[in-house]
Symmetry: D2
Subunit: 347 residues, 4 copies
C-alpha cells in the first residue's frame, strides 16, 4: 500500500521539485499539498511543467488531510514548521522539514542567526539531522528529520572523510562555495532578477551566513570537537548546482584517494571520481548525487600540504528535495534509492 | 522479456538523450552502443551524468551485436544510416533513424538539400515518417522509421489542425522558429561557442534550411496538396527548447480553440493550453511533450484574420530521442507512453 | 559651454544607461538626477559600475535644479512626465520623455492602453515622436520629444522602406519580435527572476501589447494610411537586445537591397547589411545602431512573394537612452553622433 | 601627432578588444592589423560590431607596415612573439606582448609549462612585466612589455597589500578564481561550446595551471622571497569577468581596510570598496578596473585569523587589452587613463 505524503507550502522551488520526484515514486501517493494563497488552484496551473503528470490542487492548510498522512514534508519559509510540526508528530505522522527550523541543536545560536524566538526547543532536541551519510541509523527511527541546507550538504560531504581522519588542521578549514540562483528560492529580490544575476558573479554573506553554524555543527560531530571554518558563498549565473571547493591543511601524511573511496564505497548517492578529476555541476542536474574529487596541488617548490576537495550537487535535489525523499525512504524502510534513480539531464 | 535495443553513434546529444531515456525504460535493455572513435571507452566516462546509471562501453560498429537486437536507433550524422540500415532490416531488426536520411520521400530533393547521393532510394520508399500524430498506424508496422527533425516536429504539430481544416491560405504559411543551441548537435562550430552564442540572438538560414522541405512535405500530406511556407529559424541563447510561432491567414471563419482541442484530445504527448495562454519552452524541458496555444490577435480596426499558433517542444526529446522512443513503443505494441512519463525539469 | 542635462527618475535601466552615455558626452554636463526613494544617495552607490566615472547624488525631485537645465530627460514610469513636463517646458527647458506618455497622438487610444486618464492632452499635440529616421526635421525644433519604445524602434526601422514603397500588402504586416529581459525594466516580477527567465523562451502579450498601437501609428504616417499589423513579442533569455523578424507580402516586384540601402544611406545609426546577411543582437550591444538585413526566401515551387526583414537593436541604446541622446543632439544643433560613437561590446 | 599602433594576430578576443579600445583612443591611429588566414578581409566583416567604427582590413604579416609603427601589440598564441619581437625592437618599435612569451623570468620554468623551447631568452631578460601597480616606473622606459595574464592580474592585485605587509603566512596562500569563458580565447574546444558550458560550473587545472608560476613570481617580487600558493581556477557560465577569492592567514594583527585603501589610493584603475562590500564582476564589464573588497570573517568562537579578499576584473580589459593600452600610455608618456575611461556596461 502506498505511503501517503503531504506537502506543506508547495509553491516554492523545493516544493515543485518534491512534486516532480514524488509523482514518479513507486511507493508514494501525494495526498495533499497546501498553500494559503494558492488554495483551490490546480498545481499544474502554477507549474505547467506538471500538466498531465499531477492532478492535484493546492488546499488551504486547515482543510488538508495532513494528519492522516504517513509523512508530511515542510517546504515552507523558516519559522513555520516549528509551529506546526508538533500536532502532526503527536498524530503519528513522520515529518521531514526542508526549512532550517530544526537544523541547529543550539537553540540560542539558531535564534541569533534566524532572528526569531524558537517555538519548539523540545522538538529540536528530538529532531535528527537528515544527512544520511552521517546519521543513517538515527534517521531510520526519527519522527522528525531536519533536512540539511544545500551548502551544508555539499560542504559536509566533501569534508567528512578528511575531518574524520584527524589528519588535517581542524581550526582552519576553508569552504569556497558557488551556487546557482535557485538556491535563493522562488522569491523576488532585485539582485536575483535575470538582468541583474546573469553574466555576473559575486560573493555574498562573507561577514556571516546561516549555513556557517550548520556546517560547523555537522563537522564538529564528525570530528568529535569544535572546528574552525571560513565559509564564502558565491552566486553563479546558472539555475541549479552547487560547487564547493574545499581547502584543508594536512597535519600528517595521508593517502587521499583511498580515504575517500573507502568512506563512500557503500553510499548510493556519493560518487567519488577518479584521481585527477573535476566534477561538473551539470553532471548532477536533476539527480540525487554528490560527486567528489580530491586533489593535492603543487604549492611551492617541494611542498604540497593543502588538500583541495571538489564537491558538486544539485541544490534542489541532493541539496533539498531529493535528500528529503532519501530520508523518507529510510524512515519507512523502503530501498534508499526508490524514486531517486533518474540520471542527470545533460546537456 | 525486454526489448534489446542498439544505438549506432551514441556520442552526440541525441545519443546521450536516448541513453537517459532508455536506461529507465521498463521494457528495454540497452544491448549495444557503437562509436568508432570511442570504442572500448565506458559510456559514463564520456558522459559522467550517466555514472552509476549505465554500465556499458562504446563498441566498434563491426563488433557490436546490432543484428541480434530487436531495434536499432541511428543517432548518426546524415549519410550513415542509408548505408547501414539495409543489413539490419534484412536481419529482421526494426530501425529508427534519427538522422535525416529517410525523411524526404523525393530523393532528388533530398540529394539537393543534403548534397550527397542517396545510397538507398528503395528504402526511402518503405520508410515511414515517424510523426505519430500524423502516421500512427503506419508506424506500428514499419520496419524503418524516419524520425522527424526538431523544427519539423514543432511546426507540423502547430500547423496540423489548421492545415487539415482547409480554412487557411495554404500558399502563405509563415513559421518563425527559435531553437536552443543543442539543436545543432555536439559539434564544434565557432558560432556555437559559449562566448559567441550566449547573450545573443540571431536568425540563420533564411535563404534556405533543410527542414523547410521536410515541413512542407508533412503539411502537404495533411493538406492533400502543396503548401507555401516561409520558414525562418533563429538561434536562442539557451541549451534546450524550440518555440515555433506560426502565422496563417484565415480564409473562412473557424472556431480555433475547439479545433485544436479536438484534434489532439487523444494524443498523449500534445497538450493544448487554455485560450489566451503562452507556452514556455522550459515547461517541456526533458519531457516528451508538445504544448500548444492558439491565438487570434488584433490586427487593425475591426479585422483579425491572422491566426497565431505557439508551439513548444524540447528539441532533444519530442524533437528527437523521446519521439524515437515513442515510435519504438508503437512498433513493439508497448504502451505509447512507456518510459516517457517524466515531468519537465523546472526550474 | 556645456549643455546642462537633468534626469528625472534615474534608478531604472534607461536611467543608468543615460548616465553611462552622458558621462562621456563631450558637450553635456549632468546637472541633476532625481529619485524620491534614493534622495541623497550617491549614484555610484546604487550603480557601482559608475564608481569613479560619475560624482553625483540622487536629489529629491523638488530640490533638484531641473528648471535651470537646458534639457531634462524623463526616465520615469508611465504617468509621471505628463504631470511634470509642462512646468519645465514653460521654463524654457527642452524635454525628452523616455516613457510612453506622449507617444500616441490619439489620447483616447492612449488612455485605453495605459489605463489612466491623460493629464496633458495639449502637450500630446505638440510632442514630436522622436524617431529621427522618420521625423528628423521636426525633432530639431521640438520642445517636447516622445522617445520611441524599444520594439517600435526596431519594427518601424525594419518596415519603413517597404511601407514607404507602397509595394507590400499593408493590411497584413507581421512583426515577430524577441527582446532581452532588460526591456522589462529594473523591476521585480516573478517571471523575470533569473531562475524563471534563463534557459527559457516564451511569447507574451499576443492578445495585445502597448507597443502595437505605437508601431501602427508610425507606419501609418509613413504609409499615408492605416496599416494592419500582427505583433508578437517574445522574451529571450539574455539581458540586452531586440531582434525583429518582419514579414510582408509583395504586391508588385521590387528590388529590395537597393531600396534599403538608398533609404538609409545618409543615416548615421542605421546599418544595412549585405544581401544574405543575418544580423546578431550582440553586434549592437551597447551601441546606438540598428542593423538590418532584407531577404526573400523560397516559399513554394517557383514562388517567393514574402519579404523577410531582420532588424536588431540594443533595446537600452537605440531602443531608449541612446536614441534619447540622439534626439537631444538634434534639438541642440550638435553633431547627431556626438557621444554615441562607441563600438558594441563583443564578446 | 598620433601614435601609430600595429596589432599582430587580431582575430582573437584580445585582438577585437584592443581594436574596440584603440578605435576610440584620442592619441592613437591603428596603422595595421595582421592575420595570415584573414589577409585582405575587412576587420568589420569578421567583427560586425566594428562596422562603421573601423575601416581597416587584415594584412598578411609580411606585408604590414609593422616596423614603421610606434608600438606593436602581439595578440597572438604563445610562441609567436618570441620569434617576431626582436626585429621590431631593433627597428625601434616598442612592443607589448599580450601572450605569455615573456612573462616568466625563469626560462626553464617557462619551457616546462609552455612545452616549447624559448626562442629569445635574452629578450626575456629585458622584458618588463606589465603590471603597472607593481612595475610602473620600469614600464615607462621598457622596450618590451610582457602583459600579464588575466588570473595573475586579479590575484596579484588582490594579494599585493597583504604580501607587502609581511603580516600573512606566505607559505599558504590560497587563490580560488572563477573566470568567464572568454578567458579561454576565441577557439573551439568541446567544453567551451554553449551547450556544454552554460548552466554549468566546474574547476579545472587543479593539478597545475600556467598562471600559477606567473602569480608566484609576481608575489615573490612583492614579498622579497618565495611564496607558497594553491591556485584553483574555475569556469563560470558567463562571457566576461574574473572573480578571485583569496585566503591568507594573518601572522600578526593588521588593520586591513586602511592597508588596502592606502596601497591603492593613487591607482587610477584599482578601486577599493567600502568595508563589508562584495564586488560584482559585471561592475567592471568592459571597463579597465579592478575592484577589491577585504574581509575578515568569523571562523570559530573567538577566532578570525583568515583574511578573505575579493577582487574582480574584466578578463579582456584589465586582464588583457585594457592593461595593454594602460602600458602603452605609460610607455609613451600619455595620461595613464587615456582611452580607458569608459564606464562598465550594466546591465
Amino acid at each position: 500500500m502506498a505511503i501517503k505524503a503531504g506537502i506543506v507550502g508547495g509553491t516554492g522551488y523545493t516544493g515543485v521539485e518534491l512534486l516532480r520526484l514524488l509523482a514518479h515514486h513507486p511507493e508514494v501517493e501525494i495526498a495533499a499539498i497546501t498553500s494559503r494563497e494558492a488554495a483551490g488552484r490546480p498545481v499544474a496551473a502554477m507549474f505547467p511543467s506538471l500538466r498531465g503528470r499531477l492532478d492535484l490542487a493546492f488546499a488551504a492548510p486547515e482543510r488538508a488531510p495532513l494528519s492522516s498522512c504517513d509523512v508530511v514534508f515542510f517546504a515552507t519559509p523558516n519559522g513555520v514548521a516549528m509551529n506546526e510540526a508538533r500536532a502532526l508528530i503527536e498524530a503519528g505522522v513522520r515529518v521531514v522539514d526542508l526549512s532550517a527550523d530544526f537544523r541547529l541543536r543550539d537553540v540560542t545560536e539558531w535564534e541569533r542567526w534566524y532572528r526569531m524566538k524558537h517555538a519548539a526547543p523540545d522538538l529540536v532536541a528530538q529532531a535528527v539531522y537528515g544527512l544520511p551519510e552521517l546519521n543513517r541509523e538515527r534517521i531510520r527511527t526519527a519522527r522528525l528529520v531536519a533536512n540539511p541546507g544545500c551548502y551544508p550538504t555539499a560542504v559536509q560531504l566533501g569534508f567528512l572523510p578528511l575531518v574524520e581522519s584527524g589528519a588535517v588542521d581542524l581550526a582552519h578549514l576553508v569552504a569556497d562555495a558557488k551556487s546557482g540562483t535557485s538556491g535563493a528560492g522562488r522569491k523576488m529580490e532585485l539582485h536575483l532578477m535575470h538582468s541583474e544575476a546573469t553574466e555576473n558573479f559575486t560573493a555574498y554573506g562573507v561577514p556571516g551566513h546561516r549555513h556557517w553554524p550548520e556546517i560547523r555543527q555537522g563537522l564538529a560531530q564528525a570530528a568529535g570537537g569544535e572546528v574552525g571554518l571560513v565559509f564564502v558563498p558565491h552566486l553563479a549565473p546558472m539555475i541549479r548546482g552547487i560547487h564547493a571547493t574545499l581547502y584543508a591543511r594536512l597535519t600528517r601524511e595521508l593517502d587521499l584517494q583511498p580515504l575517500y573511496e573507502r568512506r563512500y564505497a557503500q553510499e548510493p548517492f556519493v560518487d567519488v571520481l577518479a584521481a585527477g578529476s573535476h566534477p561538473e555541476t551539470r553532471s548532477v542536474r536533476g539527480a540525487n548525487v554528490c560527486r567528489i574529487a580530491v586533489h593535492r596541488p603543487p604549492q611551492a617548490s617541494g611542498r604540497a600540504d593543502t588538500v583541495v576537495v571538489l564537491a558538486v550537487i544539485d541544490n534542489l535535489v541532493k541539496g533539498a528535495s531529493g535528500q528529503a525523499v532519501q530520508n523518507m525512504n529510510l524512515m519507512f524502510g523502503l530501498p534508499e534509492t526508490a524514486g531517486l534513480e533518474q540520471a542527470a539531464l545533460v546537456p
